[in-house]
Amino acid sequence: MSTSMTVDVPAVEVHGVTRIFAARKGQGVTALDDVSLTVAPGEFVSLIGPSGCGKSTLLRLVADLDVPTSGSIEVFGKPARQARIDQDYGIAFQQAGLLPWRTVAGNIELPLELHGVGKTARRARAAELIALVGLADFASHYPDQLSGGMQQRVAIARSLAESPSLLLMDEPFGALDEMTRERMQNELVRICAETQAAVVFVTHSIPEAVFLSNRVVVMSPRPGRIRSIVSVGLGEMSGRGEYLREDEGFFHALSHVRELLHGDEGTAAPAGARGVETR
């Protein structure tokens, strides 16, 4: 086995990160203030908080789409920039962001094509992913022929194209209606169980965060800080299903996260709720 990649290397290691956006006058806007977070391999972590809490900024920093003002970010033990160059993560945004002139298959093949994967291998991989997201009949459709939910599934398939060990998702279901959204969540749980990838998932839906995550990171705005991290003890990804939404532990975790989001620090946490602990 590999000796350099020990079991202890976290998928994401954010250490003391501050991001200040320069403003035209006076002091800049502090989007993130001294944030630290570790995501273990295979772990599903949601970032939740009101607008302006810096959750998307944090995700962009991990993706190396932006650079922190201070602090360090490592992905699988490498600087974020190197991880991006090495294609260590897959990414999906709120807008599906499919290229309108490419078919479903063409869009999924895009990252493979850009990185010089051969045609046959590309085709095979795309077919595999199209089946995974349940769009087998739509491989040759163009994005404008698909509904929003289907487009988002293509985007997720694309993010999985190079079998990344880390998925970064910025409100991928934010633009979908509630029913489609729950169906997509179920599918994501299934896909994560199959791929074993770690996920950093930005959302502002409490049920979504609780249903999907091993841990929910609750953030507070101005300046963006981590208020609390909630471990949701709802069991293994593979064991999660629709029934979980009716589960008592799900409701406990739900109300706990909600209180953390709305209430003041410290007073909100109800002690001893089943399956919930505050770190």
Partner: protein, 317 residues
């Protein structure tokens, strides 16, 4: 039994398809309808011409000493039939003279050829400038004002300059010919819409798409080829068509101001002199130049057919 996601997806797609079909109006195909409307417009124009010629005052409509509508004499406003008849008659009384339409067609082809060269040069230069401006923000602020300023210079002013510079050019075997000056002036008009359209098109991808390319760690050239160029097609095609028409106008005007023989521009000047005794004749090269413009725009429109894939989501006209 609960519907699988695939079944639901299938249903959604069917719904979208049927909604699209419902939005399309029944009856005549939209493109055919556009053509019919175009012909109706032409017929209306002809009717208005003949109507005014028949019922308008011979000295024109004059308000406060200013002629606001033209005279309706046969000299000033020949009947459409006269213009048409004149087309089939020989250019001059000489025995060897071609029919007028043939002479005009020859001139049209000549001008079309020069315009095509001017278009190619203009498109190349326009694209190169757009790429440069897209690549370097500094280049955009440095070049863009000059591009706009360039179009405020009247063609009549630069035509003699271009010819004089060209005449001084000697590179071994190569000698600068007058038609090259005309083509150069045509390109001077043609590059403008291309550079502006391409700049907008290259900058049109969503921030989302640009971020995605950055995530894929691909460089500027690959981003250009895979994202920016395909995204710019919708902006580029109208610009190319505009450039084609501009190149034709530029060629005709430059032919006149440089005095190049053989093209439509020269025929317009030549036949205008005949207007006194032969009022149908000057209209022939005017129709010729319209024909050249239409053909040029049409040929460029054909490019769009090959790039249909990149125009999805664009509203068809």
């Amino acid at each position: 039994m609960p519907a699988t996601s695939e079944q639901i997806a299938q249903q959604t797609a069917e719904q979208i398809a049927s909604a699209r079909a419902a939005r399309r109006r029944p009856g005549v195909h939209p493109r055919l309808r556009g053509g019919l409307f175009g012909l109706a417009g032409l017929a209306l124009l002809a009717l208005v011409w003949e109507f005014y010629k028949t019922f308008g005052p011979a000295d024109g409509v004059i308000l406060n000493g200013v002629t606001v509508l033209p005279r309706t004499t046969d000299l000033a406003m020949p009947h459409l039939a006269v213009m048409a008849e004149r087309l089939v008659e020989p250019v001059t009384g000489a025995a060897s003279a071609l029919p007028l339409w043939a002479a005009v067609l020859q001139g049209s082809l000549f001008t079309l050829g020069i315009a095509a060269v001017g278009w190619l040069v203009g498109v190349t230069v326009g694209l190169a400038l757009a790429l440069l401006m897209q690549r370097f923000r500094l280049a955009e602020s440095a070049i863009l004002p000059w591009i706009i300023l360039s179009q405020t210079v009247p063609l009549i002013a630069i035509a003699p300059l271009v010819r004089r510079w060209g005449a001084q050019l000697q590179l071994g075997e190569f000698t600068w010919e007058s038609w090259m000056s005309v083509a150069l002036i045509a390109s001077y008009l043609a590059f403008f819409p291309v550079s502006i359209g391409a700049l907008r098109g290259l900058g049109s991808p969503d921030a989302n798409h640009v971020d995605l390319m950055r995530c894929y760690a691909v460089g500027w050239w690959k981003t250009l080829w895979r994202l920016r160029l395909p995204a710019s097609v919708g902006y580029l095609l109208p610009a190319l068509r505009l450039a084609a028409v501009s190149a034709v106008v530029g060629s005709v005007v430059a032919e006149v101001s440089i005095g190049l023989r053989g093209g439509i521009g020269r025929l317009i000047v030549e036949y205008a002199g005949a207007a006194g005794g032969d009022p149908g004749k000057p209209w022939a090269p005017i129709f010729g130049s319209i024909l050249v413009g239409l053909v040029a725009a049409g040929l460029v429109g054909l490019i769009g057919l090959f790039l249909r894939r990149f125009r999805r989501g664009e509203v068809s006209i």
